[in-house]
Symmetry: D2
Subunit: 143 residues, 4 copies
Amino acid sequence: MSDADELARRVAETLRAREGTGPALGIGLEDAREGYARVAMIVRKDMLNGKNMAHGGMIFTLADTAFAYACNCRNANTVAQSASISFLAPGREGDRLQAEAREVSLAGRSGVYQVTVSNQHGETVAVFQGHSRTIGGAILPEA
Amino acid sequence: MSDADELARRVAETLRAREGTGPALGIGLEDAREGYARVAMIVRKDMLNGKNMAHGGMIFTLADTAFAYACNCRNANTVAQSASISFLAPGREGDRLQAEAREVSLAGRSGVYQVTVSNQHGETVAVFQGHSRTIGGAILPEA
Amino acid sequence: MSDADELARRVAETLRAREGTGPALGIGLEDAREGYARVAMIVRKDMLNGKNMAHGGMIFTLADTAFAYACNCRNANTVAQSASISFLAPGREGDRLQAEAREVSLAGRSGVYQVTVSNQHGETVAVFQGHSRTIGGAILPEA
Amino acid sequence: MSDADELARRVAETLRAREGTGPALGIGLEDAREGYARVAMIVRKDMLNGKNMAHGGMIFTLADTAFAYACNCRNANTVAQSASISFLAPGREGDRLQAEAREVSLAGRSGVYQVTVSNQHGETVAVFQGHSRTIGGAILPEA
């Protein structure tokens, strides 16, 4: 593992350990490398909307979590500025949704990440694009 | 109250009663009228990200909930196709966030809704735009 | 007219006078006030796509122009960071499209504007949301 | 070249030949394959905004053109429903901008495409995500 990938993994694990949302929703960190993160969760009854489908907000939250881990990978404090999401297929109770974030572009303090959310059958459930901004500070104490 | 507003209120209450996410996050339905809905929630510890701010996914979920109530207001089954959100100010633990959805356009089966999320000080936390599609069926049994 | 509205009008006229795109597309400035701008253009043959409809890029350009005038209204140099657009009805050759931009939120250097594009029949053709950032400098020489 | 790629190329060339915008802006079709298209243009003076940079609308138009060619590649008439764009670096007069569209997802009549716009130095100028819908009919006469 490269130093950059190792740093990305440590940042993601640290963010995951400090947050409330990931544990509350059962979001698991599966992989984190430079400019990349993959997370997953099982759709529970308390994540459904009034039509018995996974709430769009829960799908967004999973994608946004992968985005956050990927855009903070260099240990420079980075936040979401804006994001857009297209919903392509419904999520159902019991589905295992996976979100995979990849860095598309990073220029100065501005980054763009694409996240694909898919289910256990390999179907794409949603596609997400996030725009990040690095605002100063670090996640891990700098050595 | 007009019949259209009364129908909107009944649809929103029905969606709210059937869903898992609203109760799990403590989202309260404050108002629903034709093409309009307002909801609110208190930011809890289990809604924070790894930086001690409200998770972007939780803010999106609140906005998306208001959007869902507004775009289903005529009792025609309508789903989100895509949405975009801009994050403007952080949410903190204990903040009371309110999301207000308004119909911007409705043409055939395609609608656009704008949602503004603000905190208890009247500051705008996020602005959301959702694109909906009516897909057939009804929420309430049709009379 | 308030001083703020007068400044907005002068900034918009100055931007319009300096740009290449507005004249090339025949975009007319109809109104500019604090946090608001309205522009219009006629859809020409050279603005059509391969299906004989107004090219989405031309509709976006009209909306983006209104956005630019509105977000620079205070004479603080401000650029688009991101934008999203939903297309609701086609534009046809000869249609007169009008774009109306309104400030939804402004907090520090970050602003959100909504733009509605409509045709001569009052139908909504597209809805646009733009996120701006103020980057320093002025459009008009500061007095 | 596969039949699918050959069909994609013919559809793109046909759209290009029928449209007004591409020739007016000097947009050249560089490549089209199944789920993929690449186009390019030189930024001219009449494509600049009031700050001497490439107008955001012109950058969007280039990206939207690549998106249109890619999402119609199977000769099923497909239109843009919504799109979002993040602007990352300015374009200047004389820059050669290239837009490369890739299919991210296609499920039933709903597709998502990502487009990256870059300049002659390989810098990313903008990232675009488009959501398409297939609406019936064909571009080329069906054999």
